[in-house]
Symmetry: C2
Subunit: 418 residues, 2 copies
């Protein structure tokens, strides 16, 4: 993509009411647009990044047997009354609206109820189990405050996967597979090292739940980390009893701020019982289906990645999710020969299948271009200048490390198309 | 995908309150799930089909310079007051809700206003124009009745593209390109022949607007078609004056029912003026941006395709959007050799990159399998049976024509992997 064609531009300032670093940088770089507090539109660079995160998650969900669906935003109140989650006293962040005939409907805060009801149409026998539907779908939560940028929106994208299993044992076996898939996802996104499986308070069906917490000063959670054992405890379960139960040592636990970047739950029969999701087993006996749920928010991950890697100059994208792999910055483009030379490299890279953003602006000064490039945070910057043309080389700068190399076109292609 | 792994199953009956043929068949075949009237979830087969429609549209939008974004569902009331579209007297199908602090917000009925306001941040000079953002995003319309299945939902997916141009001339030139792109989309979807550019009533900035109308008895519109000239008139402009103005002949116009499958609009400065979207031209003069909008609904197209091609046995998908290209139906799978033989073909086809749904159910009878296969409507059925194994051939049946061929594995691969 040529930058002169891209409709977004960088900005010096984010909106004055935007306090989160992730949103400030994403807005300044033209990745997102703030529609209102906690509600962000995704612009071309941001949407490319979001789609890459989604695709990584999709691949890992498919790999463990997930089947993709898309549930709805509008929610039938009657369904949520059956699990006692409709009343504002029970769930205080519903957005509610109504049909023309006055029937109340809600906007999806989450999807356990509709997913369970939908699956009930397809599950009757043990032969129909286990099954693993998942989706990428917007959730709507009427947060009183929305100060964390894209990490906690009033409208945000969520991947939610569910397991519908015959027994606790069958559920547990999938739970382990999903847990491993989450570890792979964080690794592929480049935040595996900073992400800890963290014990938190459980529900009816388990003593603890497990969260994935990613270390960051911008996080809303406090956790206690054992770095050697790569395990952490959420503050809510941080006490002598739990520490000793888990075989940990208080001395090795360090307090950290962290972002909850994923969570996995044993749901047991919490939803299947009230919603009547049962199956007949090998002996013809009706039994409630055993469930689990597995959440991860692509838009929150996008914000988390910004928070984790950004430096004083701007964002720093890991290769796997960067909107483009290469930022080709053309200098001295008012010189026709230099422009032809830079254009040719752009075309050759694109034809070789390399994703390139090309700063082909003629008027912008070099300093402005470098500042924009640092802000946008594409992993590899290739500078094509008159001086480089005369020497027959391009300057390649790594965004993350600042490492600089001068490469010929041949060396460049060996590097970027291998 | 093995059918024993797919969580959906076919059903004999659709919900009794579902009157539209498209929704009846899509529900019976397990493509969609009805959450409430006019609100449908997409299940694995339906979502695959929807994604294919989306991808065709995306490719054609990118080909004319479109840049993909994703605007939001939650809408700022203040913005819509500026164009006088917030009041329920002006727009009677809003879903409205409110933030915790009482501020009213709406659910996106359409996106001209937020798109215009967002673009205003990036447009200041003639150098910033023209630009073409587009998106796939849910729209919410509080329809009093919802009787047309996925063709007119209360929540539905829409592709909307906008042009932001310097002048009417520049806008018109893009309008022509977008119009041509739409023709390509309908052709690629397999409904080009049945789709007519149709003159309808215009707005402030043009005498007529143009709609794409696809002939179908299930349509809500009445149009008058000149089949030779491949032009039509919407009933609302069907009068002597217009007919002669367009150089048509009343005798050649035939009344037909049709589905509005796309529309393209000259918006002029209808949104840019009230929302203050201006640019400074080459002489430094401020001018309002000239706009157009281009809508097409992937979920409505999906319903339209069902309506157009379905027969008494079920759905008939065109190759380009079918959830799978091949439906491999295994018979006599209780015979181990036959099962191994069918399994081997499945694996070989998948490894060759062919999209295959494999009916690997052992218990189901042949008649049941064929009825399900007809209902689901995948273009090519390959039957692997004991009889076929003994003869060394597979029966290939075309869903659209019923044509039957007996092919060896070699002939089959020549056909499906070339």
């Amino acid at each position: 993509m040529r930058q002169t064609e891209l409709f977004t531009k960088t900005r010096k300032e984010a909106p004055s009411d935007e306090v989160a670093k992730n949103a400030q940088l994403l807005i300044r770089a033209g990745f997102v647009h703030k529609e209102m507090a906690g509600v962000y539109a995704y612009l071309p660079l941001g949407l490319r990044t979001l789609h890459k995160i989604v695709q990584i998650i999709r691949e890992e969900m498919n790999a463990i047997g997930g089947q993709e669906v898309a549930m709805t935003t509008l929610q039938d109140a009657e369904l949520w009354k059956q699990t006692d989650r409709w009343s504002d006293e029970k769930v205080d962040n519903w957005f509610k609206t109504s049909l023309q005939n006055g029937t109340e409907v809600g906007l999806s805060i989450t999807h356990e109820e509709p997913m369970t009801r939908m699956m009930a149409q397809y599950i009757s026998s043990y032969r129909d189990l286990p099954k693993y539907p998942y989706q990428f779908q917007n959730k709507f939560r009427n947060e009183a405050r929305a100060k964390s940028g894209v990490m906690r929106g009033r409208e945000f994208l969520m991947k939610d996967l569910y397991d519908f299993s015959r027994t606790e044992e069958e559920h547990n076996s999938f739970y382990t597979a999903a847990r491993d898939a989450y570890i792979k996802i964080f690794d592929r996104l480049g935040i595996g090292e900073k992400t800890y499986i963290t014990f938190a308070s459980g529900g009816t069906f388990s003593e603890f739940s497990e969260e994935f917490q990613t270390l960051s000063e911008a996080g809303e959670d406090t956790i206690y980390v054992d770095e050697k054992k790569r395990i952490a405890l959420n503050k809510e379960v941080y006490n002598e009893g739990v520490i000793s139960k888990l075989g940990l040592d208080k001395e090795s636990l360090v307090e950290k701020r962290a972002i909850e970047s994923g969570n996995i739950f044993h749901l047991g029969t919490k939803f299947s019982e009230p919603l009547g999701l049962t199956y007949s087993d090998e002996n013809g006996e009706r039994k409630p289906v055993y469930m689990g749920s597995y959440g991860i928010g692509p838009s929150r991950l996008l914000g988390t990645i910004v928070e984790l890697f950004a430096d004083e100059k701007g964002m720093v994208w890991p290769e796997a999710v960067a909107p483009y792999r290469v930022h080709l910055v053309g200098l001295n483009l008012d010189d026709e020969e230099t422009r032809d030379w830079a254009d040719a490299l752009y075309n050759n890279l694109v034809n070789a299948g390399v994703e390139v953003l090309y700063d082909d602006r003629v008027e912008a000064r070099a300093g402005e271009k470098f500042a924009d490039s640092d802000l946008i945070g594409i992993p590899h910057r290739i500078v094509a200048s008159k001086k480089g043309k005369d020497a027959g080389t391009y300057e390649v700068v790594e965004r993350a490390t600042g490492e600089i190399r001068n490469l010929t076109e041949e060396e460049l292609f060996a590097d970027f198309t291998s």
